[in-house]
């Protein structure tokens, strides 16, 4: 596959699936049809450049493929007959009012509370972001067959129970938006700290999550947590150009070249966060955005207001008492008050079953012990972290640190 064509399809996959799913109400059929369209394109475009409007081409061919697939069915339900009529004709007229992106409809279907929470993220990664089942299986630490089965089951349920491809009405939106934000957040974190690809960052996932959050912010401009999530992602994503070296090694925050940060994104993120905070209803995404803003505001790593960051993490721990937040608070305390104080906070987690199997906890402990000069204990902690199968880029970093202290 030419990489140019592949890039186009990575980008357009979600939109094409969303359009065909809206027209047919069948997500499985939509995916198959878009997959067919891509196969045709690869065959037809192999020697030359893609057509001038690849996105439009892909949607048109996918619609035809869906129609063909329905025609081949010998026994069709009335719903399928209806889908064929819609596919063969022009799109039904849109209701007047706000133009709602098909991807927004699709994400509300994929994040429907009638679906298993764990599967919602996987389904979103597959249908909207175009990750392969194998990649998603790797991220969820399950076999490809298991993941394939979960995805098929979820798509079948959407079809058979008629889960709608629709943005909920205003009065239902507050109850539904939280689940969608959570999924967008997880798509972003998967992109930002990739467990699936060889590289440090998966650009297309970060881009897709930011794009989805912008759509949601357009839908709910008065919801401070929607704005908070968008701000957090922009402020965090602004660091992307400095997070990896040219040959794909992870660069940690204090070592990043801050000149390479995307200052337009920082400006936009800060502005959106201010808008959210003026609504005076704080929440976990706004707190995370505020933390990212503290980092973004420091022109040099040594200027970072760690005491403020530690306070924000303490507030965040009250809404979200997870080991991840706790460990982050420990790191901030270590920066503000020294590694011994940080280690004391971190060690409150010892014996917590949820966190013992988490490689970052041990990596973080190792770093604090190293800074305290407790080299032997640091070495043990690095080895524990490495034994817990960290993603490739982090494995490489931890191995390097371990060999530095073992000298």
């Amino acid at each position: 596959m030419s990489s140019q064509v592949e890039t186009v399809f990575r980008r357009e996959w979600g939109r094409a699936v969303a359009v065909v799913a809206r027209l047919t109400g069948d997500l499985g059929l939509a995916e198959d049809a878009v997959q067919d369209a891509i196969a045709i394109a690869l065959d037809r475009w192999a020697p030359g450049p893609p057509p001038s409007d690849p996105a439009g081409w892909l949607v048109a061919v996918a619609k035809n493929q869906a129609l063909d697939r329905l025609r081949r069915e010998s026994r069709r339900s009335r719903k399928e007959e209806e889908a064929m009529r819609i596919l063969a004709g022009r799109d039904p007229p849109r209701p007047p009012g706000m133009i709602i992106d098909d991807r927004l409809r699709l994400i509300f279907a994929c994040c429907h509370p009638a679906l298993d929470p764990g599967t919602r993220v996987a389904l979103t990664l597959r249908t909207l972001c175009g990750l392969t089942t194998a990649e998603i299986a790797r991220a969820f630490l399950v076999s490809e067959a298991t993941m394939a089965q979960r995805l098929v089951r979820a798509k079948r349920k959407i079809r058979d129970a008629a889960i709608p491809f629709r943005v909920p009405a205003d009065r239902e939106l507050p109850g539904r938006i939280g689940g969608v934000l959570r999924v967008v957040y997880l798509v972003f974190t998967e992109g930002h700290r990739s467990s699936t690809g060889p590289g440090v960052v998966r650009d297309e996932l970060c881009d897709e999550a930011v794009r989805l959050a912008r759509l949601l912010a357009g839908l709910c401009p008065g919801d401070p947590e929607v704005l908070g999530l968008l701000a957090m992602m922009l402020l965090t994503d602004a660091r992307r150009p400095a997070r990896a070296t040219g040959d794909g090694h992870l660069v940690l925050l204090p070592d990043q070249d801050r000149g390479r940060w995307d200052h337009a994104k920082i400006g936009e993120g800060t502005q959106i966060l201010d808008r959210a905070l003026r609504l005076r209803r704080p929440g976990p995404y706004q707190l995370q955005a505020a933390i990212a803003a503290c980092h973004a505001a420091a022109t040099d790593a040594s200027d970072t207001d760690w005491a403020q960051i530690a306070a924000l993490y303490a507030a965040l721990a009250r809404c979200d008492p997870s080991p991840v937040v706790h460990a982050n608070r420990a790191v901030a305390v270590a920066m503000a008050e020294g590694p011994a104080a940080g280690l004391a906070v971190l060690d409150e987690l010892r014996g917590d079953n949820r966190s013992e199997g988490w490689h970052l906890l041990h990596a973080c402990r190792a770093d604090l012990l190293r800074r305290l000069g407790r080299t032997a204990e640091a070495g043990d902690a690095y080895r524990t972290a490495l034994a817990l199968d960290p993603p490739p880029a982090e494995r490489e970093f931890l191995t390097r640190r371990l060999s530095e202290i073992s000298r």
Partner: protein, 120 residues
Amino acid sequence: MRYLCLLVGEPGIDGPDPGTPEFKRMLADYGSATQAMVAAGVLVDSGPLQPASSATTVRVRGGEPLVTDGPFAELKEQIGGYYVLDCADLDEALRWAAAIPAARYGAIEIRPLMTMPGHA
């Protein structure tokens, strides 16, 4: 799309006792929920069920009917009634089901009816 809503009593949660004002209110809520369904044209059928102790189960094996006393499986949860609703999608079915008082005292399982080729 038609949905079967099964009204399931959950062990440990008792509904109001007959004769209490709370019980009267529950009956009134059933009445108004059902009326609203009729008015919206979504109600296909509904009804309360006699207790599981009144159930009889039949299985045909080797051409012979085998009749046993009791429900097909002994469950802690008891099915107390059902609604069949004709709705545009699951969200609409969920809205109506949540208005059925049984949702407050137990659970309502919503099962789409399979659409057969050539039928709605």
